[in-house]
Symmetry: C2
């Protein structure tokens, strides 16, 4: 594969934004280079993911969240205000062990978010 300018732009955008939806990556890239098509964003994100350079997380509804592979964390999404809190991956270590033993399931802690209520919304709900 060739590291084309478009691909570099996508990767740079992702490094700058730390994490973003394809749409957001597209907007960021197009600020610098408006000619880049969103199709290319999608294709590049898929390619970079196949190469293990980036990964994506589903936060629930809507578009997935891409990030460079290094920035891995567990996403805690508040389903009331949609705020996303990031937790270090190791909070899931025990659960990973349990799931392996009880279900033979190898948990990938950061691919999907966890849903719940953030501290603020718990107060607001009382």
């Amino acid at each position: 594969m060739r590291m084309t300018p478009q691909r570099q732009l996508v990767l740079d955008a992702l490094l700058q934004l730390e994490q973003a939806t394809p749409e957001q990556v597209c907007q960021h890239v197009q600020r610098a280079t408006p000619s880049v098509n969103i199709t290319t964003i999608y294709r590049t994100l898929e390619l970079l993911e196949d190469l293990g350079i980036v990964r994506h997380t589903h936060l629930g509804h809507g578009a997935p969240n891409y990030s460079v592979h290094e920035h891995q964390h567990v996403h805690l999404v508040c389903h009331r205000c949609d705020k996303v809190v990031e937790a270090p991956r190791d909070v899931m270590d025990d659960l990973r062990g349990t799931l392996r033993v009880r279900f033979g399931f190898a948990l990938d802690a950061s691919h999907l978010a966890l849903s719940g209520l953030c501290a603020d919304c718990q107060e607001a709900t009382e």
Copy 2:
């Protein structure tokens, strides 16, 4: 709110199917009553969810999975073969405690699936 025939059909479908996407609920309902529109399925699912009667889970990509509130479990989705394993909610109890203490986050264990590799796919991958 009135328990209209359409709404009853949606709820019945969900009870029979145990869990299903809006699309699947729609097909099930339309087998008995073809005139019911998918818009009504969506509206009814939203309504039932507001009432706390049903809930939905995101398995990752694609349509969410609805179920009646009683049948709660954690979904373990294999991101290789897309198989869904169900685990009892209590496997997340420790994690729930940790997240509450460390992040003030009240985990809703069943709203989002967990992603990883199922036992079969782990073998296949080696």
